[in-house]
Structure formats: C-alpha cells, structure tokens
Symmetry: D2
Subunit: 379 residues, 4 copies
C-alpha cells in the first residue's frame, strides 16, 4: 500500500508532542515523513530535519514557504501535521488548506473562536481532510464505551463525571526556563485558557465523543493558584447536556501527585462505565443490579469499534502512542478515501470538534469572569 507523504510544522528538537506525532505516524507504516518546517530557529529546523532523514531541500524555515513549495513538487506532501504552540495553529492550517494539503492539527484548534470558525469555513470549502488530535478518543476502550453507549447498554445517560488532573505546574516552573511550561502559561502562545485549554478541552471532547451527547451549557470557577500566573491552573466546571444529563469537570495542573490523570465516569439509568487514561486497557462496566465487569481490550465483550483500534491480544498492554496512532491510521483511511473520491465512516475528531473545543474554552473563561454563571454553548 502506498504511504502518505507527510510534512510537519513544529516538532523540532526540544519539543514534546512532535515526536509523539511521528511515532504515531510510524507505527502502522501508513505515512512517510518527507518535509518539515520543524522550528522557528533555522538552525534547529535544519538539525532536526537531518536527524529525521528529511532531505535538506525539504527542510523549510517557514510554513508559508513549505506550503507553497510542497504544492509545486510532483511528489509533494499529501498532508501536514501541525504541532506548534497554539497561536500558530490557525495561520499554519490556513496556509496548507489554501494549497490543497490535508491537515492534521494539534489541539486546541486556535486561540480565538473567530479563527476557529474561519478555519471551519475554509476546511469545508476545500473538502480536504482536517483532523484535530484529540488523541484520547483513539484509545480502544474509549471507543468500546462509545459503542456500548450507542448500543443502549447504559440506558439514558444521567451523570458524567470528568477529571483531568496533573501536577507539573504546581510550582512556577515557567519562570525557570522550562519551555513547555513557558508557552503553555502565556496567553500570547496558549490563548485564553491555561489548564482548561491544554487538557480540559480533551476531557470536554471525550465526554461528547463517548456519549454522543451535546453539551448545552456550562458554569465555571477558574483559579490561578500559582503566584504570578495569568492563566487558569485549576478549574471547577459544571456541565449540562441536551438530554438532561449533568456533568462535573475538574481540571487541574496543580494537583500534587497527579501525572496525567484523565478519567471519565458515565452513569445511565441501566448501567455505569468508568475509564481511566492511566490504566487504559480496562473499562469498568456496572450494570444496575449486577456485579461489576472488567472489560479488557481485545478480550471477551470487546466490541467492533474497540477491536478495530486494537493491535495486540488482551493482556498485552497498549498505551498512549497506540491510541494516538489510531488517530493517524484513521486519518490515513480518510485521506485515501479522499484520493479515491470515496467516503469512509470515521471516528477522527474533525474541524467541528476543534471548534467546539475552542468554544468550551471561551465560555468557561466568560462564565468565570461573570462570577460563575451558566452560559449556553449554543452560538
């Protein structure tokens, strides 16, 4: 099978998420990384490209040049992965869409809702594939839950409990030169949301992805516990869903001892489901009036959606990279379908999901600024 020619914007040496995207792209051998604008520093860009066996001629100093040049090549890139800090997502995505190149963009989609809306229009007009890497939706057991809920195994969903807690910003490490912390706590690069943007939007997406429910309103209380920090590092959010379900979402990057503690618990009138990102191969399923069942990835009781996303037999743990790789693999299917003018059902989060994530961030900030009031998510 021919591999998709991939370019990358961002992700040079010292970056974190770029290498994750590359491993995800490699795992199933569906992509070939052939071009990049890997850093705003030309020196780092060149060195990073060399390390990745990208030809010198296809290592660029700006994404604008890269978009134009790649389009002009006979075997230019089919798709680009945008893995820069948030503020560059919009201009970079625009540049590639304009050149007819499919986009895989990290989240949150943009720093302003208006930019997100503009991108949505562009993407729809272009007909190109636009994937937003809400990667947690790639985990097999998340998809297992999605299918079980769609099958009606939970009955009517009543309560959704979400938390995404970390501790790496419990101190003001942004002042110590820690690069990841520096941009993520700076509104110029990160946008209006701190923790709610960096991780909260993942949880927000996951709830809608798994349940198929739409969030109707939210109420937020945001904190910046670390002295001198502008953006939120802890958030207490109430959620309402269109079917009447209620949700709570705790987001924190100052929760001492939490590593990457994303978990979701969903309760319907027939059963409950619980999943934790740090123990991702298991799903706890609690039918009302029966014992808890531990459904294992690729084990008995695994549904089609999760088996499709699974590479190994049960008991052989899959992790974060494999979940991320599912987003890449499914996006490859979309791109190939596009080539063939075909259609394919897809679980890949797209431009709509990206927009909702930015909407979530803006409304949470607005609710908090108004003293924690309910704000509708219809707009």
């Amino acid at each position: 099978m021919q591999r998709i020619r991939l370019g990358m914007v961002g992700g040079g040496k010292g970056a974190f998420i770029g290498e994750v995207h590359r491993m995800a792209a490699r795992l199933d051998n569906r992509y070939e990384l052939v071009a990049g604008s890997l850093s705003s520093s030309p020196k780092i860009a060149a060195a990073s490209a060399a390390e990745l066996n990208i030809a010198k001629s296809r290592s660029y100093n700006s994404f604008e040049t890269m978009a134009k040049k790649e389009r002009s090549l006979k075997e230019g890139i089919d798709a680009v992965a945008i893995v820069t800090p948030n503020h560059l997502h919009a201009p970079a995505a625009k540049a590639f869409l304009k050149e007819g190149i499919h986009v895989i963009c990290d989240k949150p989609l943009t720093t302003e809702l208006s930019d997100a809306e503009e991108l949505k229009t562009l993407a729809k007009e272009s007909g190109l594939v636009f994937a937003v890497t809400y990667n947690y939706s790639g985990y097999p057991m998340v998809r297992q839950a999605k299918q079980m809920i769609a099958n009606g195994e939970l009955g009517n969903v009543r309560v959704i409990q979400l938390e995404y807690a970390q501790d790496w910003l419990a101190e003001d490490i942004e002042k110590t030169g820690q690069k990841q912390a520096a941009w993520r706590t700076n509104p110029k690069y990160a946008g209006k949301g701190g923790a709610i943007g960096d991780i909260g939007s993942h949880a927000f997406h996951l709830a809608e992805f798994m349940t198929g429910l739409e969030t109707s309103a939210l109420l937020a209380d945001l904190d910046s516990f670390v002295t001198g920090r502008t953006l939120d590092d802890n958030a207490s959010i109430l959620l309402r869903y269109k079917n009447g379900a209620k949700g709570m979402l705790w987001v924190s990057q100052v929760a001492s001892g939490k590593e990457n503690g994303l978990q979701i618990k969903i309760y319907g009138d027939k059963a409950g489901l619980e999943w934790s990102q740090e123990d991702p191969n298991y799903l706890r399923y609690t039918p009302l009036g029966d014992s808890m069942k531990i459904i294992t990835r690729a084990g008995a009781g695994a549904e089609q959606l999760s088996n499709d996303a699974s590479r190994l037999p049960s008991g052989h743990p899959e992790g974060f990279i494999e979940g991320f790789a599912n987003i890449y693999r499914d996006t490859a299917d979309l791109i190939n379908a596009h080539k063939n003018d075909g259609q394919v059902d897809s679980l890949v989060p797209g431009i709509e999901d990206g927009c909702r994530g930015v909407l979530f961030i803006e409304k949470a900030v607005a609710s908090n600024q108004s003293g924690s009031i309910w704000l509708s998510l219809d707009h």
Copy 2:
C-alpha cells in the same frame, strides 16, 4: 472499668442503622444497652427489646416517657443513642437533654436549621455531651490525614475533590415498600435534602474535619432523576474554603454501580492525599516531586491519631463498624470525663458539626432554587 448505661431511640427490627450503633457500642465493651424506645410500634418495640436482653420494664413506647422514667431510676441511662428517621432527632434529643442525659445522635442533626440552632443552645447550656455520628471521621486513615495536614505535610491546601456516590436509589424503589428508601425520599421524614442530606453532609463534614478548613460558600445544581421523586438524588456542588481553597462535591444515589463510594482527594502546594471509604485502610500520599506512598493503617508512617483509632496490626483489615466504634469509644471518654468534671481533647463530631451539616443542606437547596448561585455559609 464501669460501663456506660446506654439507651436507644429507634433501631427496632427492620431498621438499618440501629444495629450498626449497637455493634459499634459493643466492640470495646464501654457501653451496656439497658433501655430503649426502639420503635413507634409498641409490638415491634417490645420484641426488639426482648431480643436485645433489655428488661421489659425499660422498654418504652415513647422517648418522652423513656427520658423521664430513666432519669428517675437510680441506675438510669447515662446516655441515649438516637437512631430514628431525621424528623425525630430534634424532639428526641431535646427530651433527653432536658433530663440531663448525654446524647449520641445520628445525622443529619435535624430537618430544619432553626431546630439545630435551638438544640445547640440547649446542649451548650446543659453542658452535656452531644455527639453526632458523622462516623466516617472515625476511620483511622481519615484521622491520619487530619494529622498529616495539621502537621503541614500538604502545605497550603488548594483543592478538595469530594464524591459520595451510591446507586441504591437509581430506580423508584420507594414505591415498592422499601422502608429505608421510603422515608429517605420523603421530605416529611428526611427534611429538605435527599442525597445531599443522607450522604452529602457526610462528605461536607469530612472535608472540614480532615483539613481543618471552614467552608465559606457553595453553589449547587440539584437533580431528581427518578420520575416522581421530590428530593434530590444527584447533586453537583462547588465549594469555597476560607483559605482560598476550592472544592467540588458530587453526591449521587443514582450512580449505577456505586455501592458506598465516598472518597476525598486533597491537594496542597506540597503534597496530595487521597482516601476512599471502600478501601479504608490505605491512604495515598503524594509529595510533590516524589513517588506516591501508600500509608497503611498501623503501618510505618502511621501517626498517633490513627494509631489511637486502630485495633489491629496492619494488613488485618478494619472496616466500617470499627470506624463507627471509634466514635462510640471517644464519646465514652467524653462522658467519663464529664463524670469526673474533667476535660478531654476529642475528635468526636459535636453539636457544632451537626449544625453545619444542616446549614450545608439548606444552602445547597437555596442555591439550586436560585439557579446555582454562590451562597455564603456565614450566617
């Protein structure tokens, strides 16, 4: 050591919590159950008393009679345990306080805040011991956490995450004749709060007990998911503490699969602590920048407060009854100190805690009625 003569109001056959109180009172041999008004039905009262080896002459048909009669006996009861539905707590407690008898009362203290305040005045004037069985504060590892926080091991507390979830009211079993469900979902017997009163007030108390912090305000969104139910069966509550800490409290009795899921997670700027009632012998302690430590009851790292509340070596699980029994044992110490005009430091929840619990319920209901607004808990 002479045992305390104990009477009981409520707790006849078919009741749940009465037998729990009795086992708790028995475990350390500090009490002798000698009198009771065990049921509003004279027949059940008599049969229940007989089963408990209570002399016929000391089995009463009303708590008023019991209070007066017992006072007149040379060896009348020293203390009474009130284990009725909520609406009788206030009148029963008043009756015994008036006769100079110490009171151990189940929670919530009363169905109206005004009654709670009146009881507080009476209790303080009487000088008698008044214990409110917020029994979860009797668990050794809850006390371990309390001492660690008091010692400064968490630093400044920033975030408190609380949940107390059950599923036994996920369906309308109150219509099927289930007695426990019937009174707990009926405002006449339960008061203004459903789940928030029955279990939410436990979590509210626990947070203040463990951290020593005072809640300054709350914001609540209450639900009655089961059709036809008047009182809340699910609640989403935000909390603010006087030191600036933020809290979230999820209370539910419709969370399919949850048995008695009370858990508390506390994060300070130096460390975090997590405890779960269903796994009560362990405390997860996460100092910032170090590995998680699992502190075990009576094991290495156990503090004085938890060792005092512990009966067995580590690895020999203690449970709910033992935690409850600690409230009884500590109350026995208070009563003995009272006899000797002595003083004793005590961890037993008292009339103040009882009043705060009722205040919590009233404010949660009021916030919800006003569309989820912040309400101060100062009054």
Copy 3:
C-alpha cells in the same frame, strides 16, 4: 436470647490474639466473658481480669483449677477460649474437655501430631463442641467462593495458588524482647513449624475449606533466612489434591513489604476465583470466555453462605474482626444446638481441621528434611 458464658485461657495484657477473640465474641452479643486464666503471671492475670470486669473469684492462676472450679459452679462457663502459645493448647483443651466444657482453640491445634490425635479422640468421645479458629474461613467472600465452587461454577478445579506472606520477622526481632516473635520462633512454644505453623496452616486449611478438596501429598523446601533462627521463616511448598488438582503454597515471614498477605487463587476448567485477605470484601470471578466479574460482599451475585456471614450492605467494608466473629457466632449456634440436643450444619473448623493442620506442618518439615520429596498426607 441467653448469652453463652465464656472463659478464656491466655490473652492477658501484652498478648495479641486474646483481644481479637474477645472483640469477635462481643460483636454479636452471643457471649459473656465471665472467667479467665489470663496469664501465667498471677499479677498480670489479676490485672487483666479486672480490666475485663471479670469477678476476682473467677480469675484463676491455672487453667486446671479454672476447669475444675468452673465446672462446680452453678453458672460456670459453658465454653472456654484457648488463646495461649501453641504448646499449651493440648493440655488446656484436655482439661476443659474432661470437665464437659466446650472448647474454642486457636491454631495450630497442637505442637505434636500425637497430641492432636489424642485430643480428637477425647473430643469425639465427649460429644462437646470443639472449634479451631482458622478464622479466615469466617470471611463472607471465602464462604461465597466455597459455595460457588460447590455449585460447580468453576467446573473441575485444576490449579490452586496460595500465598501467605508477611515481613514482620525479616529481622531477628526475637532477640530484641519482642514477645510475639520470641515464642513464635522458639520450637519449645511454637512446635516444629515456624511460618508454616503460624500462617501456612491457615492457607492450607483455606484451600481445603473453599474447594472441598482433600490434599493428598506435599513437597516442601523450607528456609530460615534470618541468622540464628531455628524454625522456618520462608517455605516453598507444592501440593497435590485428590482430584488431580495441583497447588503451590508460598509462606513467608521475611517478605519485605508484606503485611498480612494471604491470598488464594483457584482455577477450574470453567472459571477462576481470586481472593485476597487484605481486600476481603471482593471476589474476582473469571468465567472462561467472559469478562472478569467483581463480586462484592452483600452485593449482586452474593450467595446465601456469604450473606449469612455478612452484617452490612455492600460498600460498607467489613474486616478481620467481623470474619473472626463469624466463627464465634457459628460456634454459638453449635453450642446452643448441643444444649438442645439439636443438630446444626456448620462451617466452623473443628477438631478434624485442627488435626489436618498439624499433619500439614509435620509433613512439610519431614519432606524438607528428606531433600524436598513428595510425602503422602494419608496416615
């Protein structure tokens, strides 16, 4: 209901297991402790008796005197609990059997198999109740497993994996004056087995109790890792059962980090079951080809045998004392049935189980001495 008059031999101040027996006897109010020979030191015996509200006249300096004297009283004890170091179990039990007093004896039954056999004869001739406190068989979920296996839910049992590991003897604390360690590591008081007697015999019993299978042979490799220690502190044992099932039993008191780590895993051709003493309210049940089910005490799927042994709803943890108390409660039923010349089905480990435990110890020692050979348990 009239309570059983209980005496106790051993269990004075400074002892461990005596107070456990007393709490277990108290919990259900079926016993009244009225006599004792609580210590070989008359001073400690008297002080301990006073603390327990035992009348001076019924605090004895020797169990021989106690047995004779109590028999002569109009309201002398019905039963005696023997909680001394192992070497006194046999003479004490004999003394009380001779006087027609029921016996509740701690394990292992005796230090010599011949003594155990003699006791068995005496007990059978007397017709008296003889309970041996293999207390772990009192846990509700152990009984749940027993019933599930009897019901055929595991099919034919193939494999039994047992471990009982502690760490309290990882160092030579017997040389530091630690009383519990001193006698348990001394053959004079403990008998031929160290860890295998103190804890290994519990695991051995549990496997036979839960599965209903009889052990046919064993092969043992024993160690004394701590310098200067005579008795085993670690043992690796292979087991064969009469139905062809195979077992492995690891026993250790030098396993750094283990508190009271008794666990049993049983696999049949239809399903498996796993239970851990330190998390006793749950049973993991794994039907072949289906998801794991977590069966909770008093929850959905709980069988009659476990519900009978349960005091609280699911989610309200019961622990070690409650399990121990089930042995006492069931023994009370046996004693009452004896009074009424009645019969009662019982799960209480008796004199036969006691003898098998001693047989296990002797054979393990003999196998080890012969270089780890298979020895039959038929004798």
Copy 4:
C-alpha cells in the same frame, strides 16, 4: 542516521509475533524492512511481502536462498529477524550467521539444547550480534528494578516469586484449527516444553535479568490438564539461586481468566519489589520498615536505565510494543557499534540467555520425569 536494513523470516499473514517485531522495529525509525521469507507458503510469502512494500525480488521462498542472495547484494540486509515457530530458529539462524548477517531471534532459542550450544559457538566465532527477544526485559520498569537491585536497594535477595499465567489453552483449541495453538502444543514445532517453553522461559529469564542472580537448580511438577495434550500446560517449579535465594515459578496456560499474567516479586533483606506485566508502568517498592512507594515510569525516583528505555512522560502509559521496541533499539545500537568496531554496554538478551532458556526447559522436563527432583543447572 542511516537505518539498518532488516530482513524477516516468518511473520507472514496469519502469524502473530511477526507484526509485533515489525511495529517494534518501526517505532524508533532505526530499521527499514527490505527483504523477507515470510511464509513457507510461496503464495502467502509473496502477498505478505507486497503488503509490506518489500520488493518482489527480495521476497524469498526459503531462508537459505534469502541468506545467500542478500549477502551478495550491495545493499543486502544487515540483520534478520527470525519469527518462525521454534523448530526453525536453529536452521534459520545458522544460515544467516554463516553469511555474516546479524540475527534477532524469537524465543525459545531452539528446540534442543545441543542446537542452542552449536548456535552459541557459531555466533561467538562470527562476532556478529545475536539478540534473543526476551522482550519483557525491554520494559522500562523491569530495567528500573534491575538497576535498583544492582544499586543494593533490596539488600541480599532472599525470595523470588514468579508467575506467568494465561488461559488461552484452557480448552483443546489446538484441535479446532487455531494455528497458534496447533504449533505451540505440538512437540515437533514447539520442542519439549509447552507452557514452560512458550512463556515459562520468559519468567525464568526475567528473574535472572532483574536480579543478576544465576539459577543453580530447579525442581518441577508439570501437568497437561487438557485431555490429549502432549506438552505441559501448567507447571509448578521450585528454584534455587546461587546466592541462596529461593524461588517459585508458576506457569500456566489453563488458568481461566488470566490473559497475559506475568508477574515477578522479589524480596531482599532491605526491601521488596513487585512488577506486573499487565500494569507495566508502575513498580511497587517496599523498603522494610517504611511505606510502599509506587515508582512510576519516567517519574520521580526513576533510574537512568529506565529513563533510557522510556519515550513519554509519566502518566502517559507505555505498553508491550514500546518494551519490545527497546530490544530493537538497543540491538540497533549494537549493530551500529559492530559496524564501527566499537563496543557498547547492552541490556539486550543474547545467545547466552537464549541457551539458558533452553537449558531451563530441558531440566524442567527432566525433573518432572524423575518425579520432581532437584536438578542442577550447571552443565
């Protein structure tokens, strides 16, 4: 960095472990799969090669041809991965060694000890890299344990408890056409060991790898529980280590409910360590006299050896493929060092480990045949 040209023997469509090797080889972009003899069926071989973008000219019908032909190419393969059933490991490895091609071979190394010894001689004479994919040694926390033990944090190791249990052979699925089961239960393809060879040898290796101890003797009791099965499907094995430590190893493929349950527990006189393959990112560390610490991959307390083997921050789970990929990555370092006549310290299991694995299998079978006697592993 130039990638290593890799060939593969076995691993065509329908195989299991071949794709695992390929994902492991891909993850870090250190290998390029360019040749293969992927199946004994020419049709499957060709189709599989096409799917993997292997040029037609380099898809071979026999490994002998492949070895010779590849050697003759200017850019022939540097290394070959052998992923066939066991009986072909030896002839295939020999063929490539003879042509000067590095070998990565699945385990167990051979079906006969004599073959293993012969390979060892050949490999040593050739000076080529020879890796045996005892892949569990690639897990970061396994290496963490290795380093902690080497650092003396456990003190003198006393006890090693091993288990590797699965249930996929609980029924006679080898008779149903299940290909993996068919060859693994057939001595012709699998060799003398069933479960002990397929999975037991992993556990045996892991214990020596982590502790640095050499096994001196073993005693085995093997079973074939499933009717008609020739090879063992359950094994109970006792182990002795040269330093005096004792071990137990339970191996089973009939343990209903077990998926891929490899776990190892190691106790020294200063501390204990426990690791489970199904929860691989955590290591439980229990210093004597202190609380248990949960050491997390890439978290606080992680040692150099585990950080070197880690790709993601803590809380972002890594799994089986990532551990396997570490073997490939480290082997790439060895191969590159070989090219440069350099030396590199390596954790990759080599030909010696391969030989010990086969020795383990042979001795276990022999001990069992002699009625479970101790056999020395010196030879």
